[in-house]
Point group: C2
Chain length 107, copies 2
DNA sequence: ACCATATGTCGGAGAATCCCGACGCGTCAA
DNA sequence: TTGACGCGTCGGGATTCTCCGACATATGGT
């Protein structure tokens, strides 16, 4: 059997290179060699990371001549955001308690 | 060398079992056997997932007699939320454009 | 037509992940 | 004290991930 690239958003985000790629694409579409430049990685490695992002629908490719510009597709990130949302309450509450405590100690 | 458990939050969240565990803990602290009950997994497997969550500081253990109750510690999730935040704008904008388009077509 | 450029994909090596049964240790009940 | 229970961790097998060099394909320029 072949590679079996992960297709889910959480797995796609679990790798720091892929997160960096998405951050870069926030500033606009970029070609593969351009994207690969910022990593100490072979170009094929970056290309495979882009494939993972493609399968997770986090990027879209637009051919321009012999280059391929990759665009950010942020929608699937909403799934992560939605998963996170029920937890938000907890860490915010905890922060508030901490702030109240600090206020008490330094009035 | 030994296991080398991942310690970063994104990796911890990349596994569906671990996400389920965190969801369960939202409803309050629970013991390991209790948590393991909801999975078609051996107890040691669940125990190791809990170890990953522990290393990512997403849970905390409280010994009670011969049981260990695990508590949710949501704070590290803020890192994911913060990473996500600069992207939020993109998918919301896209949704707004879509909604505007639909409004145009069905006035 | 020919060659350089830009990129995808393949084969495979090495590491990490995921899972299990076995075992060990501490705690509780009899 | 003895035995059962709850849990962590170890050893190891199977799978997946990450990466690389090599190769294939397509486009553009000469």
């Amino acid at each position: 059997m072949v590679a079996a690239v992960p297709t889910d958003v959480f797995s796609a985000l679990s790798n720091p290179v892929r997160r960096k790629l998405l951050e870069s694409l926030r500033e606009g579409p970029r070609a593969v060699n351009d994207l690969a430049g910022q990593f100490a990685l072979s170009r094929p490695a970056v290309s495979e990371h882009l494939q993972v992002l493609r399968h997770a629908h986090l990027v879209r490719e637009e051919p321009r001549g012999r280059q391929r510009y990759y665009h950010l597709v942020a929608e699937p990130l909403a799934e992560v955001h939605d998963w996170l949302h029920p937890f938000e309450h907890y860490w915010r509450e905890r922060m508030r308690s901490l702030r109240d405590l600090l206020d008490e100690e330094n009035p």
